[in-house]
Symmetry: D2
Subunit: 371 residues, 4 copies
């Protein structure tokens, strides 16, 4: 319960590695034996998060090639803990040396330096770098494959809002959203809006600035009753996982903050029978969750990301060594927004949480039968 | 890690009891020995959450008188687990019997019935009732006293928005907010707006409807560096705790969802020196948290509550025994809004999370010296 | 993972209460919904541990009447946490007041006083009293019923050795051992040896002394493969649970310490087919466990209990207030040996561990079907 | 709480890797920042466990060279999780292929095959191999350095009994035992007995057989009051850790099983003042633990190891593919006894447990001051 680098209880992972250390890795414990896993299953997910892919992301060039160090035997999970790593290769730590005493606004530099008495690896943000989310994606690849294979879940996130530009996705079907979300660099299913978002990012980057946005995530196919009340409600477990992603500052399920303005008669989702005789709700203001349990309707939540903290503009700070006020321009290679690369990370963390709850709730067995 | 009714790892509590069962209780484990605790310390907090206090709350009349069953010796915590209970007395379960097969929209009835195969105690919502938060408040009373005594923290929540009426609190000092927040029935520090909020609730109740709202919580006095990255960030732990409160559907820290629309140069908080030579930030868009760690600035977060699900209006549902569509008017005695009574619950859960992180981080010793 | 008063992860319990406090209680989390539970199921187990039953136990007269405070609905577990308590009634704390500064040899008084800076409830040993094992027995009653109902396990412990008198049980069948173990006051299945053991205890008590002994526990019916390597092996989990019982100082599985003197060719258990075509072993030196997993053979382990620490003889100690050497005769009412009353406690803790491992391993579902 | 490959709660490690997989590794979480760590600190401990060192161990030739993958920055722990691995190089898996269906007596083959439906990596025993204890030793090296640096503990294990030959160590001082324990191949501080033990092993190996033995471990310098009752007593935590070591089948603390034959007046340890004015006990039958807490006297416990299961003699087994009885001679390269190589493993696991309890109890801070 108190291991700060482990998340989950029945399907869990422990992460390690620093932005400019030797590698980024995870150890997954609790994955049922018998799941087919190839390097490609994981690599395809890592590639969605990989840096240096487009003009809207950092130019750090990492191959992020996964190595499976344990837990997979004859192409299947063996029931043993699964260690996955990627090696860091394109590291330029000298960028950071001269600013070690001048904390970057919006970054963890200052509180981390106080907490660890200056002993933490500050290069590239160390453990506080978004790079650690590569580990989340590796773990998520296993979780998602498990959920797909066993429960036929569909877990998909996408950019809903970027730099204030918000998509209206009501005109798209789930299938279209699933299909389109990775078809452009900003990961917005509305491709015409996506172009405007991209133009805006390029412009802000040109001005040395950055933007934030909102990622929505939808999950289809959840069985009714998933979730472990009272403290392992779906909202509790997902929010805990999502706030481990650097720059996430808000989360809402279903009607969320807007729902707080509605009346009960407007916000309550009436029960009706679907065409297929299933019990469904007319609306889905609950985001597919009541009492912390899945209702069988689509799980829907949105995450607010602040604008990337690393900007090229000069900012006020303080030199911790002298106590004097100082200015800095953040060094290094950075993303003008974290939102597009956060999309696969949110899918990954959502997958890990749902895999954990699915195992805890008995929806997935401990051993998948050998063929 | 997987006990669904336990929260926390170093200062933790396990809760038990049902809305219409014999009692509501908690067992707190990990509270340092030597903290002075009286019945009154806990009762004064319980009284803030107690039902039946005003026109804006349910008329269920529970005394909610705390009993300390263990862990306190000679007026101080002894290092042993602390069991606290209140007995249920004013129970009218018959209200629920006839609707056992017709799930109430917005409530956990339907997914809970599926999850537990109909074996769960459905009376008054059972474990899914807001009544279990009385246990949260009891645990929080101990946590808050610990934090006040050892770290001089000030933890205060208040109604920011109700039924769409939003307060502008920029005109009030922290001291005024602290002082005023419990001075009216809706727990809004702006007393003139509070009167309008109350009128609005009375009107909605008259129409058989309910409203939602937003509670803001502020914490003053946190040391720099509290939080245990990466998965026990302050945001992760607080959000997990807050989403255990029935009806919470969104949370945001600092600038939150609004911050997602800002540029990095606007949202980053510049470091400056305060008059007293401390390192502070000009703005507080981070809500006092960077990298999951406290910055020393006020911790600020907001929780969105949906409108209370129990309304007197007729609603569509399905009779699970026949599979036929049906209508129901929710029986029982209910709150027209959960927001005012959620205020002390949010203070309690915030206190429990911060006490846990404070002990984990070594900010509070295991034994307070004996006088 | 770090809650010192909670044990188990999927079937877990948290215990609270002190020897001379208001009550002894447990909260069980993770028990599947749908298990029939009556007061009598628990009371019958508590009665086996109850004090004051015979000349070989303490004369403290506690009724130890269980109350079910939560988690049972319509006679079945509901999936909610189960709180069980017994009230303390026959407390004579004055026995302890004058010796508060003179630690009793063999008791936790001295290290507990240092650890908690004198703040712990020392009356009757407080949390360190054997009385807290009444809580273990209550939790074990639920676990055992679960295991019996779902897996038809037979869990039975019995006195193997007392004050140096050791039983040869090879002449008894499992059925005879099961039947006879509670038929005499010392809980030894060999009734003629039991009489000698009892005489010996009476004699030692007359001399103001106490004796130790060994309890053996056997479990029949375990499925093959129970256990969660590497750190939740059956041996790991059972030993952790057993050493929570005051006065336990050694444990061995199968051939144990004697096996350390054997050759591999003697100690290895050869695989053969049973008459019924099952895979069994010729011998059972492994105690039914290989690699931390159950083999399907009887699980067998033995626990060594030291002689009861409270004796009427004068002993050397130190007055902590003056630092001077001092003598004391231990006050209060005590057992001349803990062994007979430890028998049901060992059954209880074994049941809790096996229920936990059975749920973790997927051998028991989360919800038992409603009739 | 339920992660089977993680042990500890405040100083914890997760282990991964299989005997014939790519590597053996651990991730340590919770180690305070600021501890100086070099490759050599870990390598020197690994070398004590390394195979192929003498005639009394397996001839598998592994270099076991540690690599620090994360968590150490500028020669000190950084507060981040520490990943340590060794690569497997001398793997001969073909030894195992033809016996995959014939479980080796005394090994986990049969129950593991049932538990994982044949999906587990069986090569060299996979996760059940003693080779995973190399990970324990790496974690232990960090823990021991922490305990030495902060609390000046001395943790030392040694062979007390081997193949029935038992040392009388009463003639040696603690200093002599510490100095001599690694001076011979069997790790017995009595060098003349050590020679006899070695001769005996060579003889048994010659006959294709193996032997068991007992390892004793002593810890000097523990503060009074370490341990977290009731379920994280020192005995509970140490026994859980020790039974994770393959072949361990018994453990006893202090007088242990022999103490069960004593009277209370014999077994109780009388309190006296030491020459230096400290409170000590005349005897140490408690093994330095009362009520699960350290007394300040030497912590003493003994672990019984069964004879190594892999023997060259022909044994009875069953061919799982045909269900027919069969014979096998265990293939591979093996230790004629696990005892000498278990000595550093026991030191390692004891160190990990004590580091965990020391942090939990507040005896070690979260950050060691930067020089």
């Amino acid at each position: 319960m108190s291991l700060p680098n482990t998340i989950g209880s029945s399907f869990a992972f422990t992460c390690f590695g620093e932005s400019h250390g030797r590698c980024i890795g995870v150890v997954i414990d609790g994955c049922p034996a018998g799941l087919e896993i190839s390097d490609q299953d994981i690599q395809s997910k890592l590639n969605l998060r990989k840096p240096g892919q487009s003009i809207v992301t950092t130019q750090r060039a990492e191959e992020d090639k996964v190595e499976i160090l344990s837990g997979v035997f004859n192409g299947k999970t063996s029931g043993a803990p699964i260690c996955l790593i990627i090696w860091n290769t394109d590291v330029r730590s000298s960028d950071y040396e001269k600013f070690v005493n001048i904390p970057r606004p919006g970054h963890a530099d200052y509180p981390a330096s106080v907490k660890y008495a200056g002993l933490n690896d500050y290069r590239g943000g160390g453990r506080f770098s978004g790079r650690i989310t590569a580990g989340f994606v590796m773990a998520g690849a296993i979780a998602e494959k498990l959920l797909n294979s066993l429960l036929s879940l569909k877990i998909f996130a996408y950019t809903l809002e970027l730099g204030g530009l918000r998509a209206d996705l009501s005109k798209f079907s789930f299938d279209e959203i699933i299909r389109n979300r990775y078809s452009n660099e900003v990961r917005c299913p509305d491709s015409s809006l996506a172009q405007r978002m991209k133009d805006m990012i390029v412009e802000e980057r040109g001005e040395g600035d950055s933007v934030g946005g909102i990622v929505e995530c939808t999950v289809l196919g959840l069985p009714v009753g998933l979730g472990e009340p009272v403290f392992s409600s779906i909202e509790s477990e997902i929010s805990k996982a999502i706030f481990s992603i650097p720059a996430a500052k808000g989360i809402e399920f279903g009607s969320g903050f807007a729902g707080a303005k509605l009346r009960g008669s407007e916000n309550n989702d009436a029960y009706i029978q679907s065409d297929k005789g299933r019990i469904v709700t007319k609306t889905n203001n609950s985001g597919g969750i009541l009492g912390g349990l899945s209702t069988g309707m689509p799980l829907v939540f949105r995450t607010a990301f602040k604008p990337a903290s690393s900007i090229a503009k000069s900012q006020e700070s303080i030199d911790l060594s002298s106590g004097k006020e100082s200015r800095l321009v953040v060094p290094g290679r950075h993303d003008p927004t974290v939102v597009p690369r956060a999309v696969p990370v949110i899918e990954a963390m959502t997958s890990c949480v749902l895999a954990d709850l699915a195992i805890r709730g008995g929806y997935i067995p401990r051993v998948l039968k050998k063929n």
